[in-house]
Amino acid sequence: MTLGHKFYLYLGYLSALSVSVPLFAGIGFAKKKSKQAGILFCLILASLLSELCGYILLKSNIHNLFVFRIYTLIQFALLSLFYLKIINSEKGKWLIRISFFLFIVSALLDVKKNGFNSIDDISLTTASVFLMLYSLMTFYNILQNTVYQNILSEPLFWFNSAVLIYFSGCLFVFIFSNYLEDFYAKIFHIVWGINSVLNITFNILMAIGFWKTKHREIS
């Protein structure tokens, strides 16, 4: 194993471990337990479980990609539920419901095309596009209704930024992931390193969000 390979391997481990940061932040700081914070805490738990299962299966030489496929489904469902609670407009709520239906269709197509034990590039890309849309809608609502005295102390700002940064940054990685794995397996780990860095960023921003819920409700 080259030094480069080792670097990306440890980066992957660090990315998997970084989920513990929002986990402890959620346990320690989220005192005002709102439904929205609860949903995001479930997402962090699901992320931790998927990373654990993936690692155990990898060490047992069993294909583990189906675990992340299931995680994508849970992740999108929980984040959609979160935004359903955050977005107040009826149009926005309908958009989320329709998006969820379209995501399920894309996930089924993905399984049909790629099989169960592969990277779910189609559903990941679809989820990313919809989640970016929800996140932008939320920022638009924040701009429309100036109710925050200091936006940096609002948990919603941090959670929403985490979603937007992670899913927009990873969009190209998700689009090309299966293609790279099939044809350029040697460089796949380099590209997947981007996902690891952004996942660490996502987890840090989520942890800040949980920390902010100590003093403020998510609204």
């Binding site: 100036t146 925050y148 940054g169 190209f172 350029y184 380099i190």
Partner: protein, 267 residues
């Protein structure tokens, strides 16, 4: 060859990711700065609104003080003098109890003086709250006010209304009457008008009072400017009375038409 293709793909994906991240960073920064800017504007507007409210309150207090001074002056100069004379007469009667002729003459004087005192008290009370306003309502009180002004012969004034028997809530009638008085007073004092027309009508969602005149008018913008200065006590008083009944006052001064002031009172 294959290495070059691999490198190109990595660069393509990295550039794509970086592009997206730069775009997102721009969006987040825009949200942050826009939010700060809007908040600063809102705070500024709030400060201006608070200042304006303080000015209105101060104007209301000043008007009240002036009114008290006027009443005190009337009581002191008129009623006070009359009662002092009555007191003097009574002490003269006490000192000259045996002088029947003087006692009768002073007693008669006292009755006249007390009659004048009663009239004076009525006048002051009428000035405070016109009995017509309390008993018969705003429309009839304005009718009476117009009649008094017309009788002075200085200015022609007419009043039209859609419903003679219309009554508004008591508080609204008093404030609207005072507001009308102040508006007419301002027109007489400052516009040089020779003719005033007042119209009061009921609409679907509001009552509308329109006062038009052929003198020099004033626009809402000019009123705003005047209200910012320490002057314009009457205008501030009008605004503060209008606020009490949730009414809106619009001043119009068109070039080739009569100037008018519209007061809209929500139902």
């Amino acid at each position: 060859m294959e290495n070059k293709a691999q490198g190109d793909i990595v660069i393509l994906i990295v550039v794509g990711c970086l592009g997206m991240l730069i775009l997102v960073a721009f969006i987040i920064l825009f949200v942050l700065f826009y939010q700060k800017k809007v908040l600063a504007q809102q705070n500024e507007m709030q400060l201006a609104e608070n200042k304006y409210q303080r000015q209105l309150l101060s104007a209301a207090i000043q008007v009240e003080e002036k009114e008290r001074e006027r009443i005190a002056k009337n009581i002191h100069d008129d009623l006070g003098t009359l009662l002092s004379v009555v007191k003097l007469n009574l002490s003269k009667i006490t000192r000259n109890a045996g002088n029947k002729e003087l006692t009768e003459s002073l007693g008669g004087d006292n009755i006249l003086l007390i009659d004048r005192s009663i009239q004076s008290i009525r006048g002051i009370a009428k000035d405070l709250v016109p009995p017509t306003l309390v008993k018969l309502g705003y429309i009839k009180a304005v009718n009476e006010l117009c009649r008094h002004i017309s009788n002075s012969g200085q200015i022609a004034i007419s009043f039209s209304q859609s419903d003679v028997d219309l009554r508004l809530p008591e508080q609204a009638e008093v404030q609207l009457y005072r507001l009308t008085q102040e508006l007419i007073n301002n027109i007489i004092k400052h516009s040089g008008a020779k003719q005033i027309e007042i119209d009061f009508s009921r609409h679907n969602t509001s009552h509308k009072l329109v006062i038009s005149h052929n003198g020099k008018g004033i626009s809402s913008d000019e009123v705003k400017e005047l209200s910012k200065l320490d002057r314009g006590l009457g205008l501030k008083s009008i605004q503060s009375r209008a606020q009490l009944i949730n009414a809106a006052v619009f001043y119009n001064a068109p070039r080739n038409e009569n100037a008018n002031i519209t007061v809209e009172i929500p139902l």
